[in-house]
Amino acid sequence: MKSFVFPEFQIIRDEEKCGQCRGCERQCAFGTHTYDPVADRLVSDEYKCSGCQRCVIFCPKDAIVVRPSPSSYRPNASWSREKIEDLKRQAETGGVLLTGCGSDKPFRIYWDHIVLNASQVTNPSIDPLREPMELRTFLGAKPDMMEISAEDGDVQIKTELSPNLMVETPILFSAMSYGAISYNAFRSLATAACKSGTYFNTGEGGLPREMRDEFGKCAIVQVASGRFGIDAEYLNCAQAVEIKVGQGAKPGIGGHLPGEKVSQAVAETRMIPMGTDAISPAPHHDIYSIEDLSMLIYALKEATNYEKPISVKIAAVHNFAAIASGIVRAGADIIAIDGLRGGTGAAPKAIRDNVGIPTELAISSLDRRLRNEGIRNRCSIIAAGGIRCSSDVIKAIALGADAVYIGSAALIAMGCTLCQKCYTGKCNWGICTQDPRLSGRLNVEIASQRLSNLISAWSHEIAEMLGGMGINALESLRGNRDHLRGVGLYEWELDVLGIKGAGE
């Protein structure tokens, strides 16, 4: 059937600059560029282009420009080009529209409407280059009260403490499974996490056995509805276990890792036969209530000898704060909330772009709810979904989060350009693919260095901003909304965020 959809991108090749080196042809796994030996020139099939910019960056002559196709239907406020083309695609295939990465829709980005405070004259600011700044964070349950005994100057803590995760900076790598991303990308995240004193999250695809000894010490392992790759060793080699209930990009639905991505190594790690679909059902079929969730939380505490904090990750949806309160009471040590703009390797577009609420609002309502109920100390909050820079991190913390998960940001550090074609398995950047020819393009040493650089740069910026506010420990900023003001927000938005308008 002839497709009635425009090419998404226009490829402009400067024939004067092009040296016919065929580099672009080799770079593109979608087969966009081919060499015509008769004409001795390269031709490009725009229909195949994903807009990932790989050929542009690797063209030694800078001869290629790829930009959104300027072709346009008659402008129509209701029927945008995207709406028309999505509809055509479905008319042509009868299928569910798949997409990758976080939602690109223009929902209000609250980070960009919140401004931070700084010290002037009174309460002088602190120079982080001269003075110690504490970014170290402990994630997990804190006791309601601490009993100590002091005998002859020897002070002992009598209260039994819950296990906590110590992070050097409040930025953790979000769950991205081996299988969704390539081995090299996965290993780069693990390497960078260990190097930067933080943690990576295995996602639900297991942790390759050969990585357990070396990287278990900076791993959070996930238990999701598919229960892939889980055995007692997997749970015990890590520092924390996360039960994945939901994901910001696709709240309420499961996932299918298509059989073609289940290579021998992925199959071994997930502990399933090669080539089968790895199906994660929408719910955990042993969890239909808070009581059931509590049962799994304690099963995992038992399985890890009460030595590791248990996290529960949920998507931020309408009534999630009440549910989160139940999750804390069910025994979770950490709650991870993933907002509307959270990324994914594959999600139905209708779900990604229409389900869930923005992270910023979610953090604030969750923090407030738990405080009001007097149980905020019983869990830590990790916020995820749309964290793009250090100021987003610091705003998240001032709104009440203990730390953040970064997913898309980490991938971008490794080379991702958010082309949203992750689900094709043909990622030219070697990130979201199981094709060894493509994944080999991602050098673990370089990619992990880029990730570590990012963490270090953001940490410096966070320290600077903290110092500017006259604060020398991140702890003092947590939930400290007085340091935030809103610009261009409605009253209800300020109320949900719990912040004043600028100038107030």
């Binding site: 798949l98 889980i230 679909d277 304690y298 399985a303």
Partner: protein, 270 residues
């Protein structure tokens, strides 16, 4: 306190590693954590066989028995263990002299569980290895998302019948439901979303009872050998059933297998 006392006795045990059969825990008034504390202490002190008496609803028995050295133990349970018995089990053999509740063998990796009675819902959920034998009936969502992997192939044999959603999303393993009382299978939605593994039902099943992703076929010679092997093991554990293997194997069996390893391959527009 109970734990401290027990630890001392376990130290003695350690010195006399040869003679550690017949250790007992009295579970009366013990909470889940206390019971599992004691069980773990005994395993670490070298116990190979432990009986737990007066069990009444304590959960996760067997779950906390993972050690990097893969120590193994035999556990006899008298009474009714609570939910998630043998969850994440990594080796070990557990026998329940009584009924079990929900979640037996949840995400179990290896080992054996024998229930001399009935089991509740979500039996063998996401189980990836080991064997479970249940003498009587089991509840809803049995063998849901059971998996297999290389040499690991979980086996679940149920003497009675299962309720609805048996083998939903099943991705591997062998499930045998014997209906020894000849009451006929009444479960619906059997094998919905199934994409691996095999279910053998003694007797027959209507097309309307199974999910759209399932093929129903008669058993062949190879299947008979599989059944022979596991029905033998089942009967060894439950001599009280009083039926011979031949008698059971002579009956009609049907075999349920997935139509495809990729039930949802064509769902998407690319």
């Amino acid at each position: 306190m109970a734990r401290a006392v027990l630890s001392e006795s376990s130290l003695e045990v350690k010195q006399d590693n040869q003679n550690i059969e017949g250790l007992e825990i009295d579970a009366t008034d013990l909470g889940t954590k206390e019971l599992n504390d004691q069980l773990r202490d005994l395993m670490l002190s070298g116990a190979k066989k432990v009986s737990i008496r007066n069990v009444c609803g304590q959960r996760y028995i067997g779950t906390r028995l993972y050690t990097p050295e893969h120590l193994e133990m035999e556990i006899e349970i008298f009474g009714t263990p609570g939910n998630d018995l043998a969850a994440f089990l990594y080796g070990h053999k557990i026998t329940v002299h009584g009924n079990a509740q929900d979640g037996v063998g949840n995400t179990m990796d290896a080992g054996k569980v024998v229930v001399e009675g009935r089991a509740g819902d979500v039996l063998g959920f996401s189980m990836r290895g080991g064997e479970i034998y249940v003498r009587d009936n089991c509840g809803y969502r049995t063998a849901l998302h059971m998996k297999e992997y290389e040499g690991k192939r979980p086996v679940l044999v149920v003497g009675g019948r299962s309720q609805d959603f048996l083998g939903e999303y099943m991705a591997g393993g062998i499930v045998i439901v014997l209906d020894l009382q000849d009451l006929a299978h009444e479960a619906n939605f059997i094998g919905t979303g199934m994409h691996g593994g095999v279910i053998y039902l003694r007797g027959s099943v209507k097309q309307s009872q199974v999910g759209g992703q399932v093929d129903i076929s008669p058993i062949d010679e190879f299947n008979r050998e599989v059944l022979d092997q596991y029905v033998s093991r089942f009967l060894e554990r439950f001599p009280e059933i009083g039926k011979s293997k031949e008698e059971i194997l002579r009956s009609q069996f049907v075999r349920l297998t997935p139509k495809s390893k990729r039930p949802y391959g064509n769902l998407y527009a690319y």
